[in-house]
């Protein structure tokens, strides 16, 4: 076991290398620059290729090219750059090409700010680009998860032939903590018979997303949908912390969930039984797992660093028979454990 004291962004980049990353393309944007900086230094050492593209539009399309040749590919950016990539992400999804896309999200809309934010939840989880598709989305809340979920994202991307997104945030990306660098034994990138290699007299291969004849696009769309249904069965990740006896369950992801852990301890020291439900895969969302909590708890407290995006999903899943309160903080300052505890008391009249 290799125990390190690592920054979140470095953990993610190490995981990419350990997963066999062959091609990275990216463009400078704050606050994700640590990832390309790390990879420009380390990727060539293991025979991979690092390209600083002229824009995010170019980065994502470079991935489209490299992925079509069967290699593991990744790009990273931050919110405005991810917006520019949406065209390419839609094409990757339509062409069924695996790729890992990392969004160390910042605060928008527009140029916004470089502060902490979760304003990209809708964009990340509801497609983002045009067309009828979903891509898997993972939200790490620790440096270890920056590593583990990146490994996971590469595997899921290959397994379902889909782009996969890591929705990270500034806090998790910049903070340092202990990391165990563990690439699980036995995970191997699958053979990609669909990818371009040497042709060797084989049948012509075509990778595309344009389907004009008859109902072939409808068939294609249902095929993509079926993959999504499979992901719902197999790829859901979530975390529960002290939910069993909780009077109020906080629902949060990423950095907010991390802060909420401390809030829960603080609340319990003060006699208030809080718990935490944390979706780790935002797509597919752990709907059943969240809903099952309504058997023992009727109070849910959704906290996000936006004005209420995941809130829509939680309201849809939990329905109207439970008490849902929301606290949103669309600003660059991550709320402290005290802030969340005080909000819980205020919103639930304790």
């Amino acid at each position: 076991m290799n125990k390190l004291f690592s920054r979140g962004s470095d953990a993610l980049a190490m995981a990419a290398i350990d997963s066999g990353l062959k091609f990275y393309a990216g463009y400078p944007i704050t606050p994700q620059n640590d990832i390309p900086e790390f990879l420009s230094r380390e990727l060539p050492k293991v025979g991979g290729t690092f390209v600083q593209a002229e824009s995010e539009v170019a980065s994502i399309n470079m991935l489209l090219g490299a992925s079509s040749c069967g290699f593991r590919v990744m790009t990273s950016s931050s919110s405005p750059g991810i917006s520019l990539m949406q065209e390419g992400i839609s094409y990757l999804a339509g062409s069924e090409l695996p790729a890992v896309i990392v969004n160390v999200s910042r605060w928008g809309p527009g140029l916004g700010g470089i502060g902490a934010s979760q304003g990209d939840y809708h964009q990340a989880t509801k497609g983002g680009g045009h067309g009828d598709y979903f891509i898997p989305v993972f939200a790490p809340y620790s440096v270890q998860e920056m590593y583990d979920l990146t490994v996971k994202a590469f595997d899921v991307a290959d397994k379902y032939r889909t782009p996969a997104l890591i929705l990270a945030d500034v806090m998790i990306s910049l903070m340092r903590e202990t990391l165990i660098r563990r690439y699980p034994e036995g995970i191997k990138p699958p053979e990609k018979s669909w990818a371009f290699g040497e042709r060797k007299g084989e049948r012509q291969k075509i990778i595309k997303s344009l389907y004009l004849k008859g109902n072939e696009l409808e068939v294609h769309n249902w095929k993509l949908h079926k993959k999504f249904e499979e992901m719902k069965k197999n790829e859901i990740l979530f975390d529960k912390y002290l939910c069993d006896d909780a009077d109020i369950i906080i629902v949060a992801f990423g950095m907010v969930a991390r802060v909420a852990r401390s809030t829960i301890e603080l609340a319990r020291e003060n006699g208030l039984k809080l718990g935490l439900f944390r979706p780790i895969s935002l797509v597919p969302y752990p709907e059943e797992e969240l809903f099952s909590l309504t058997k023992t708890c009727k109070n849910f407290f959704v906290i996000e660093m936006n004005t209420g995006q995941m809130l829509y999903d939680v309201m849809r899943i939990l329905g109207r028979n439970v008490n849902i309160r929301f606290y949103g903080k669309p600003s660059s300052y991550v709320p402290t454990p005290d802030d969340l505890f005080n909000k819980a008391k205020e919103l639930f009249n304790i």
Binding site: F5, I114, M175, R176, R258, V259, A260, R261, T263, T336
Partner: protein
Amino acid sequence: MSSKKSFYIDLVFSGFGGQGILIAGNLLCYSALLDGREVTFFPSYGVEMRGGAANCYVVISDRQIGSPIPSHPEIGMIMSLPALKRFENVIRSGGYLVINSDIISPEEVEREDVNKIFINANSISKDVVGNDRLANMVMLGYIAKRFSVVKKDSLISAIKEVVSEKHKKMIPLNEKAILAGYNLKLT
């Protein structure tokens, strides 16, 4: 939840860029890791590249750490006037402000419900290593001892983790400055 009595300490380090604020925070983290503890380090960041404010939070515990940003850290290592203004009211009641008195005069501090410790760190640094640039290490050495944050050996062995290859020859000087702070007796 019953493990409340276990080890937990949170700190904020703040000053100007160039004073080695982040290096001090990082050094404490590496030392605590050598002691076998859980550690989180969270730096500030912004658009000003040089000068400007620099600060970081460090949390050290025996257990898994929740928020890397504490609501009200117990200890503040304060190296500039803007740093004092920013964090004076963040420190928890009964906590400690460890202040570089070569840069900040004691009357600038307004809080009454915290303990104030003044260290003329630049002067001490100049005395022991010949220049005043290792004031951060003097302050850190003092904090490590005064609050029993990390073991002395860990602190010394961790220096090589945060001093870049280019500045290897600075290691002995850093060690000297840390020990000066570590052995500092304040009246």
